[in-house]
Symmetry: C2
Subunit: 327 residues, 2 copies
C-alpha cells in the first residue's frame, strides 16, 4: 500500500448570504476546501418565511453537516437584516472584529446546529449623516486578515451598487461613507430620459470608450458643489449634439458618477490621505475605479477579489468557534 | 333693441404641444379668448404618425377653423422635435425672438392652413457641456412680453422635470443650464432603494415636512464637490436610524436635490447675480423653489404661472402672422 494524505477535515461552514445570492464555503485553516452557490438570496427563497431560509440552507450545506455533524456555521450579509432570517442589530462605529463576534446573533439552522449571524455596522454621529453597512464589514475583516498591517491604518474601498469608503485605525472600523454610485447609474440608464439615446448593451461591463469615460471623469474633477444634476443631463445633450457617439454615452455617465464619488471621498480622507488604499470587489469594476483614481492622481495599494470567506473565518475565530480539527 | 358688444374676432390659434399633453389657445390682442386641453401629447396621439397629429389638431381646433377660416396657427414644444410633427431645428445661443420666428418651420395642418412650429434653442460652446431646450424659450418670450424691462437683463428660472436657468441680456437668450432635478427625484423615489422606506403618497406635492426639507437644503448648502451621491443615500439611513419619520424622507430628498440645483445655479450666475430673478412654472413647485432660494439668501423678483400663450403670441407677432382683426 502506498502512503496517502488523509482528506482535510473541515472546521467551518461560512455563508455569504445577500439579497440575490447565497454562497457557502467549507473551510479549514482559513482556506476554502469547497464552495457552493445558489440563487436563494433573501429575496429569492425557495419558500416564504423561516422555512425558506432553512430549506435554502439545507440545500446548499445539508450534505456537509451530514458528513461532519456539529460543524460550526457562520453567516454575514442581508441574512442578518430586518428582512433576513434573524435580525442582527448594528454595531456602532468604532467597531472591532471582537465587537462583531460578541454581538452576533444565533438562529437554529434546522439541522441540529446554530448559525452565528454577523451584525452590520452603523455610523451615527451628531451633525453628520448616518450610514449603514451589512456584509462589507466581513469582507473588510477578510482583507485585514490577509495583510495585518492594514489593521493599523488603511482606507478600504468597496465599489459597487452602494460603494463604501471605510477608514480603519488600530484595529477599529472608525467611520465610513456610502455612495449610491452603482444604483444611480442603473436607475438613470434604465428609467430616465438619459437611457433613451443609449443603444442596448452599452450599459454593461464592456471595455469603456476611453474618451467618453475620461470626459465624465474630467467633468467631475472640475465640478463645483451642486453641479452633478446639470452634468448628468449632458449625457443626453452630448448625444443630441453628436459630440459623443450613442455607444459612448453610458461611459460618460459612468465616468461622471465614479468621478464624483472619488472627488468627494478623496477630499473626505483628511489625515488618512496617505494611508494604504485597499480596494475589494468585482475585478472589472475595480479596474474602472483604479483607472479613475489614477486619472485623479491617486494610486490603489492593493486590489482584492472575494474576501468574504476569509472574513467569515476571522469572524468565527473571534467568536471562539474554530476548534482544533486534529486534536 | 339694446346695444350689444360685438363678439371679439380671434386673431390666432396657439398650440402648446408637449410630450404628454396638448393645449390650444384662441387669442386676440395677446389675450386668451378660449382654451382647450387634450391628452394628445406627441407620445399619446389618437393614431400613429402624421395622421395622429392631424387628427389631434382637428379634434382640438377644427371647430375654430370652421368658424374663422384662415386663422394663423403657431405651435411650440416637443411637436417640433425629431419625434414631433415636423422637426424645427434648434436655433443657437445667443437667440432672439426674431431668430426663433425666422427659423420656424411650417407644416400643413390638414384643414387648409399651415402651422408655424417654433424651433428650440441650443447652447453649444467649446469646453462647455452642451444644452438643449424646446418649449421653454416660448414661455420665456411670454414673460418678457409681460415685463419688457426683463429683456435688458434677467435670469429666468423654470423649475421642473428638467429645470432651466436662463440668462437674458439685451433681448438675447445668452446661455442656460438644465438640471435633471425633477426627473432624478422621480426615478430615485420610484425605482431605487431610497423609495422603499417612503410610504405611498408622500412623494407628491403635499405640504412639505419643513424639518426634513430644510435638512436637505442645509446638506446641499454645506456640500463639497461630489458629495451628492453620498447625501442621497442618507435618504435611506435617516429613515433606518429614525432620525426622520418615514413620511418625511421624500422631503429630505426633495430639499437635497433642489438645494443642489440652487447652489450650483446661483454660483453660475456670475455677473448676472443682481439681475431680476424671474420664475415660471407650476405654482406649488415655484413655492418650493422660492422657499429654498430664500433659505439660501436669495429672493425671487417675480413668479409667473402659464406664460406659454403670451409667448406664442409674441412668436406669431415676430413672424408677421398677426393681422388686424378689425381693418
Amino acid at each position: 500500500m502506498t502512503e496517502s494524505t488523509p482528506p482535510a477535515i473541515p472546521q467551518l461552514i461560512a455563508l455569504d448570504w445577500g439579497t440575490s445570492s447565497l454562497r457557502a464555503f467549507l473551510m479549514r485553516d482559513g482556506d476554502v476546501l469547497e464552495v457552493r452557490q445558489s440563487r436563494h438570496g433573501i429575496q429569492n427563497l425557495p419558500v416564504p418565511g423561516i422555512a425558506g431560509f432553512e430549506n435554502a440552507f439545507a440545500q446548499i450545506a445539508g450534505e456537509w453537516l451530514v458528513r461532519w455533524p456539529g460543524l460550526p456555521v457562520v453567516a454575514s450579509g442581508m441574512v442578518g437584516s430586518a428582512q433576513g432570517w434573524r435580525e442582527a442589530p448594528y454595531v456602532r462605529c468604532p467597531a472591532t472584529i471582537d465587537n462583531l463576534a460578541e454581538q452576533g446573533v444565533t438562529v437554529p439552522c434546522g439541522l441540529g446546529v446554530d448559525i452565528l449571524i454577523a451584525p452590520g455596522v452603523l455610523f451615527d454621529e451628531p451633525d453628520e449623516l448616518p450610514d449603514v453597512m451589512r456584509g462589507e464589514e466581513i469582507q473588510i475583516a477578510g482583507a485585514l486578515l490577509q495583510e495585518p498591517s492594514w489593521n493599523r491604518r488603511s482606507c478600504v474601498v468597496l465599489p459597487g451598487t452602494h460603494s463604501k469608503w471605510v477608514r480603519f485605525e488600530e484595529g477599529r472600523l472608525l467611520r465610513y461613507s456610502t455612495y449610491l454610485t452603482g444604483e444611480l447609474f442603473a436607475v438613470l440608464s434604465k428609467h430616465s430620459i438619459l437611457g433613451r439615446l443609449m443603444p442596448e448593451g452599452t450599459q454593461g461591463n464592456h471595455g469603456p470608450d476611453v474618451v467618453a469615460f475620461e470626459l465624465g471623469l474630467a467633468t467631475a474633477r472640475d465640478s463645483r458643489p451642486g453641479d452633478l444634476t446639470h452634468q448628468v443631463f449632458a449625457t443626453r445633450t452630448l448625444g443630441l449634439t453628436h459630440r459623443l457617439p450613442a455607444e459612448a454615452l453610458a461611459d460618460y455617465l459612468s465616468g461622471l458618477l465614479i468621478g464624483h464619488e472619488l472627488v468627494s471621498a478623496l477630499a473626505g480622507l483628511g489625515n488618512a490621505a496617505d494611508a494604504p488604499l485597499v480596494m475589494i470587489g468585482d475585478p472589472a469594476l475595480c479596474e474602472r475605479y483604479v483607472y479613475s483614481l489614477k486619472y485623479l492622481g491617486k494610486a490603489a495599494d492593493a486590489v482584492l477579489d472575494n474576501t468574504a470567506p476569509t472574513g467569515l473565518w476571522a469572524f468565527a475565530h473571534a467568536a471562539g468557534l474554530i476548534g482544533d480539527a486534529n486534536p
